[in-house]
């Protein structure tokens, strides 16, 4: 896990920084986004949008500032992370702007641009002021307390579209659950990093490979996790509860290496999903919708949202209708948020959709890559946790709008309309940048003297 002290320190090893690569990729990302923006205007009105230059300049400036922050404070960071985030965010702005054209009385793109700017600002702040992701480990309990508060507060606010996950103050509204997922990831990573040996090797053996750790070790984390899931179920935010569940199971597995946990997790998930899906009317409706998306058509009530979404994807075909030329606005409510991927599918086609999925995959893979290269368990677990949040979120929402799994309300990272989501995703990328900088950069001196205690040769098995 840590390097043996026997190795002589490498003389003048020049580690690649790749900041030039990042800058050129950023230029590409901005150019592609502006091209998309122009092509929406050409498709819809046969004219270049009047503010195309401003959009390009704004996005370019954000990208440049973020790049400078990375160059200054995280020079060894993975050069792909920032350009992918900029491209996805730029593309999201294009899609929202495109859908705004269909709903003249409901303009979402300007607000999204403000939120994106805020997100990038937080990204820059995080990169500049958080020197080392490892310090977060110290604030694990603060994080979990904040997460629980954030999760519980919306209960006291009125429900919006059936889910009590919003806080409205003045004209602003945001989804605290979005921020809570980072905080919980930090807590899980921290707790598991500290207690993974106890979790893996102590306690009573139940049967075969499943070993139940002592309640003292397992208790706190399970109760916190259960608490958050129960709160979310009460708030009817199924997407996020599913996400927390998945995050917990994945991190538990990574930390302990016990397949049994996955089995238990899946079993619990199956039971929970069945119970909630059968008895909670809101969810039950969505399961029914998923099983037979065209039932409402046969019943003479016209196509439901999922059916409209499938129609949109189908209309895109291989190469799409072209930006601005689709009819995904027929999806109606939530076309700009939960269902924004349908617009991408219709107007960019299977080709564009595949590109988007691959961008996400690359982002996730780069996160894992950083985790693999790190040398301390907290960082590893944090990298895996944050990457898994992205991966699970993409799968749950994309699978939902494409009829692969039942629909759960969630935001497509960076693409969908939603301020809290964009800000949260920028913070996730900032943390990944931080972690990858540590993973790819020169190995830091051990922080704590204890860790420097030499380990006997040959005993490193992990």
């Amino acid at each position: 896990m840590t390097a043996t002290r026997a190795d002589p320190p490498p003389p003048e090893l020049r580690l690649p920084k790749r900041r030039g690569v990042e800058l050129s990729l950023l230029v590409c990302a901005v150019v592609i986004s502006v091209f998309g923006y122009v092509s929406v205007g050409l498709g819809r009105n046969d004219a270049v949008p009047p503010d195309a230059a401003r959009y390009g300049a704004g996005l370019g400036l954000l990208a440049l500032l973020a790049h400078l922050a990375v160059r200054l404070r995280a020079p060894y960071a993975d050069p792909l992370l920032l350009p992918i985030a900029v491209l996805l965010n730029g593309l999201g702005l294009v899609l929202i702007y495109r859908l705004d054209l269909e709903t003249p009385h409901d303009q979402a793109a300007p607000a999204q641009l403000v939120w994106s700017t805020f997100g990038v600002a937080l990204f820059i702040a995080a990169v500049l002021f958080l020197r080392e992701a490892r310090v977060l480990q110290r604030y694990a309990y603060l994080c979990v307390a904040a997460a629980l508060v954030l999760l519980i507060v919306p209960i006291f606010f009125p429900a919006v579209n059936g889910a009590k996950i919003w806080i409205r103050i003045g004209g602003l509204s945001f989804q605290p659950g979005e921020f809570a997922k980072i905080l919980l990831a930090v807590f899980f990573a921290s707790y598991l990093a500290a207690n993974r040996d106890a979790l893996a090797y102590t306690g009573r053996r139940l049967w075969w490979k499943l070993q139940l750790p002592t309640g003292r070790v397992l208790g706190p984390i399970v109760s916190i996790w259960l608490l958050s899931v129960i709160v979310l179920v009460l708030e009817r935010d199924l997407g996020t509860s599913l996400l927390f569940f998945g995050l917990f199971v994945i991190l538990l597995y990574v930390a302990t290496g016990r397949i049994g946990w996955i089995a238990v997790g899946l079993l619990l998930a199956a039971v929970g999903a069945f119970v909630v899906g059968s008895y909670e009317p809101h969810v039950h409706g969505r399961v029914e919708d998923w099983l037979s998306p065209f039932a409402s058509i046969d019943a003479g009530q016209g196509p439901g949202q999922l059916a409209q979404s499938l129609f949109a994807f189908a209309a895109g075909g291989m190469f799409g209708t072209g930006l601005g030329l689709g009819e995904s606005v027929l999806i109606g409510f939530a076309a700009k948020s939960d269902f924004i991927l349908a617009t991408a599918g219709e107007e960019l086609g299977l080709a564009g959709l595949t590109a988007i999925f691959l961008l996400y995959a690359l982002l996730v893979a780069r996160g894992y890559r950083a985790g693999l290269a790190l040398h301390h368990p907290f960082g590893q677990l944090l990298a895996v946790g944050l990457s898994s949040i992205l991966a699970l979120q993409v799968f749950v929402i994309a699978g939902g709008v494409m009829g692969l799994i039942p629909l759960t309300g969630m935001a497509m990272p960076f693409l969908a309309q939603g301020g809290s989501s964009v800000v949260t995703n920028w913070i996730i990328v900032a943390l990944l940048i931080r972690v990858s900088d540590a993973a790819r950069g020169p190995r830091p001196e051990p922080v704590e003297p204890d860790a420097a205690v030499p380990v006997a040769e040959g005993t490193e098995s992990r």
Partner: protein, 485 residues
């Protein structure tokens, strides 16, 4: 932990593959069936996204498109809607399309691959070209003459150019304005309910979709069959059919409206419309030869398209002799569309060479580049040219000295045949008045027009209805318009 992280990454890869496979399933495999789902508004939206191409009469558009700015953007408009409704049909956002609007829909909406600059271009782009234009063979003056002649009475007119098969007029009356059905909403629904519920059936295209007993007008077909089969060799020689004529195998006698039909010649029988002679000749020709001739004229053909489908005219294939006798004078189960009877006149006028009738002269792209042109083709050589010559003369006699004098035109040779068809149970219905005719200017080398007119007027006093009285003047007006071109 390295191993577990790799496992987790592999798990994410599985999720990615599931998403990609699912996307391929929806966007490629299931795409067509989802596109065709009737609840999917996309095809409808795309369909009305651009101006629909126009239908032309004499080079001038009789249709138009108006931009409503709604989701279904362009709506159809019609200049002289009721006049051309039997030609154009309607193109409705609610009720679909009919007639030419239907038959040429892919061209008018721009999806026809022939409009694309390259083969499969539209498949690749999933787009469509600007709507093309359809030039019809209809002549505005003749259409107007026929429409005004019917003056709102129930009936129909079909006129054909015998030498080519071009349909010069196609009128059904009473008519309706297809523009009423163009859009969506309560007004359109109300118009639809009113039109479909109306007793006069204004949306029924009587010229090509309604069959009537042709009555005495059918005697031209029987005459041609008798001459071709050699049953009659001299049109002026007396036949052996007595008056009163008893239908074979029955005790029923067949009445005549005129005197002098006893053993009358074919010429007399046609000129003055003797039922007995023509019924008897039909029986002598025999079912097989009658059917042969009748089908050459187009009866029993379910596949006639102009390009809209034409209802099949009927002549029974199996009949007893008494039924054959009645069928030979256009009664019993014999039924014909007005277009079919215009084809009968056309075949006679064109020396027995029946040209395939068609309504679309050519189609072009929106820019006027040619897309297709309808080729003139022979439908059938119906009868021997010498037979045609003799039947022509019989028809001329009808107009010059017989029942069709109302159709005579100065400066032209006109041949015609009247018909007054009994129908209804026990012939209780008001009879249909028929007139079929052709006209050739004295200085022209070939007939300009063949026409069929049917008037079914329930309001009229029964005795007033006759082919010569009601239908012949309309036919004359149409023929005059044709000769004036």
């Amino acid at each position: 932990m390295i191993r577990q992280i790799r496992h987790t990454a592999a798990f994410c890869l599985v999720l990615l593959v599931a998403l990609l496979v699912n996307a391929g399933r929806i966007q490629v495999v299931d795409a067509d069936s989802l596109d065709d789902n009737p609840a999917n508004r996309r095809q409808t939206v795309a369909r009305f996204e651009q101006r629909r191409g126009d239908i032309l009469v004499g080079g001038k558009a009789v249709t138009g498109s108006v931009d409503t700015g709604e989701q279904l953007r362009f709506e159809r408009t019609y200049a002289d809607g009721p006049l051309y409704a039997p030609v154009t049909g309607y193109a409705s956002q609610t009720y679909g399309t009919t007639l030419l609007e239907n038959a040429e829909d892919s061209l008018l909406t721009g999806t026809n691959p022939l409009l694309a600059p390259l083969p499969f271009w539209n498949d690749v782009t999933r787009g469509r070209q600007p709507g093309g234009r359809v030039a019809t063979t209809v002549r505005a003056s003749m259409q107007r003459a026929a429409f005004d002649g019917l003056a709102g009475r129930r009936g129909a007119v079909a006129a054909i150019q015998p030498s080519s098969g071009r349909i010069l007029a196609l009128v059904s009356s009473p008519s309706y304005n297809p523009e009423q059905l163009s859009g969506t909403g309560p007004a359109v629904t109300a118009a639809w309910t009113a039109l479909t519920g109306a007793e006069a059936q204004p949306m029924l295209n009587r010229a090509i979709r309604q069959t009537y007993p042709p009555g005495s007008a059918f005697k031209i077909v029987t005459a041609a069959a008798a001459l071709d089969a050699g049953v009659v060799t001299d049109v002026d020689a007396p036949t052996s059919v007595p008056d009163p004529y008893v239908l074979p195998g029955t005790t029923t006698t067949l009445p005549n409206e005129v005197d002098g039909c006893d053993r009358a010649s074919l010429a007399f029988a046609i000129t003055f419309s003797c039922n007995s002679v023509m019924a008897g000749l039909g029986v002598k020709v025999g079912a097989a030869d009658m059917l042969d001739t009748v089908e050459k004229f187009g009866f029993n053909d379910t596949g006639i398209r102009i390009p809209s489908g034409v209802a099949a005219s009927n002549f029974d294939t199996e009949m007893s002799d008494d039924q054959l006798a009645l069928s030979s004078i256009g009664q019993f189960d014999t039924r014909a569309t007005p277009l079919q009877m215009a084809m009968v006149a056309s075949a006679v006028a064109n020396g027995g060479d029946l040209r395939r009738p068609y309504l679309v002269d050519r189609t072009t792209s929106a820019d006027g580049d040619p897309v297709s042109r309808t080729a003139e083709r022979t439908y059938r050589q119906v009868m021997d040219p010498s037979t045609a010559r003799r039947v022509r003369q019989l028809m001329v006699d009808v107009v010059e000295e017989g029942t069709g004098t109302n159709a005579g035109i100065d400066g032209a040779t006109v041949g015609g045949k009247t018909g007054t068809a009994q129908h209804g149970i026990g012939n209780a219905g008001v009879p249909y008045a028929w007139f079929i005719a052709w006209a050739q200017a004295d200085d022209a080398g070939e007939p300009a027009v063949a026409v069929a007119v049917v008037v079914e007027d329930a309001e009229a006093d029964r005795s007033d209805i006759s082919g010569g009285g009601d239908a012949a003047p309309i036919a004359r007006a149409v023929m005059e318009a044709a000769l004036a071109e």
